[in-house]
Amino acid sequence: MDVIIESLPQYWDGFLRTLFLAAVSGIIALVVGTLLAAARVSPVAALRGFSMAYVEVVRNTPLTIAFFFAAVVLPRLGVTFQQFEVAAIIALSAYTSAFIAEAVRSGVNSVPVGQAEAARSIGMKFSQVLSLIILPQALRTVVPPLINILIALVKNSSVAGAFFVLELFGYGKQLANDHGDAVMWVLVGVAIFYLLITVPLGYLAHLVERKVAIAR
């Protein structure tokens, strides 16, 4: 038990880095994912094809493979990073954006047809229909699944700990090595810090879900 209190500075540092990784990758993935979803429903066949292929391939790639590629294979090919955080953010945001794209697309499909028809009938272009009418409504309905994806992102960021980034899981491994006699408490400490992020987020998703359900 003492080991948790003793190592609080490391835990705190790791906690902040986990939050940082998740926040930066989350924002990038939200933007890229929404763009991919927009491309998926656009009139240009090439954009649709690209978006579909990207989502299909990335969703079926294990995250560890993405990390291995970004952190081990890329440097061998001459793409070096000052910090491994950059590799982690690339892997996490590339991976998460595919899931965001799928969620947003299902949101677009859930908007009643009349909305798009009305928008077109008053002379809006595709870009206007999408950005002014469809996406604002679509994003609102997919907030709960998006939060769930972000929860998964927080948990997925733990893989970065195995690829040279000292976030919560990375510190957990290090501390477990240093305190061979108290491995269990070290890892319970890591678990508590993860739950500090994921449980409130899950609660938030639940609340939003209830609110949306009443609004509809």
Binding site: P43, T61, V113, L130, P145, S158, V183, L187, L195
Partner: protein, 279 residues
Amino acid sequence: MSSVLYDVPGPKARRVSLIGSVIGVVLIAALLAWAVMTLAQQGIFQAQRWAIFGQADVWTLLANGIGATLSAAAIAAVIAFPLGLLLCLMRISDVAWIRVPTRIVLEFLRGMPVVLMMLFVLLVFATSSFIAVVAGLVLYNAAIFAEIIRAGIQSLPRGQREAGLAIGLTSFQSRLTIELPQAVRRMLPSLVAQLVVLLKDTSLGYIVAYGELLRAVQVMADFLGPQFLFPVFFVAAAIYIAINLAVSRLAIWIERRGSKKAAGGVAKAPTAGVSTVVK
């Protein structure tokens, strides 16, 4: 849906979109060409780097990696599913002292990175890495299965349970013989989608030194020399993605089959699983 969002493109719009597509394709081709050139400068395409795939040993190692991946996934799935059913029944039990602790345990398991559970089992119980991988996968996926099936049970019409109770079944009998079978059937697409997640998560075994496919790549690169890292990684990644794509296709096929049946009178599967199956 997509056609609702825009007018049928006229000649001008078609021309613009064609030009845009061509430019896009050219850009992507240029990017690919640049990547290939960079790789070629590193000597990636020298024949002897790929010649290792002519050796039986390399394929044996890769096959062992695939075998380890698939066996961990299969064993974990086979244990996790019944455990998930059990946890689901406990989660919706009428008895508060079963229901409440189960709920806390499920929240705990779902909020935890799988790799942390693997490391926990590996270090605390000092097991083999195989058991650690399987245990981590079982704990996490049983919790997810439980939540998916619970969503399925909640989506059933209330009359199902009422009818079961009315003909004199106990609450547990009604759950087991009337509600569970329907819920599992409804949630089959979500359950298979979660199997894909499980299969993908076996690659986390790399982190706890389980000899799965990615670890086999690492071992070969260490053994044969770093110049072989890229070819071996490339082939292993392709194998991984191909297996996952195949299972995903299976999930889509099951979903289509289910919705075809739905047209024949059975209620359509709800989409509640969408929010639970993200990874």
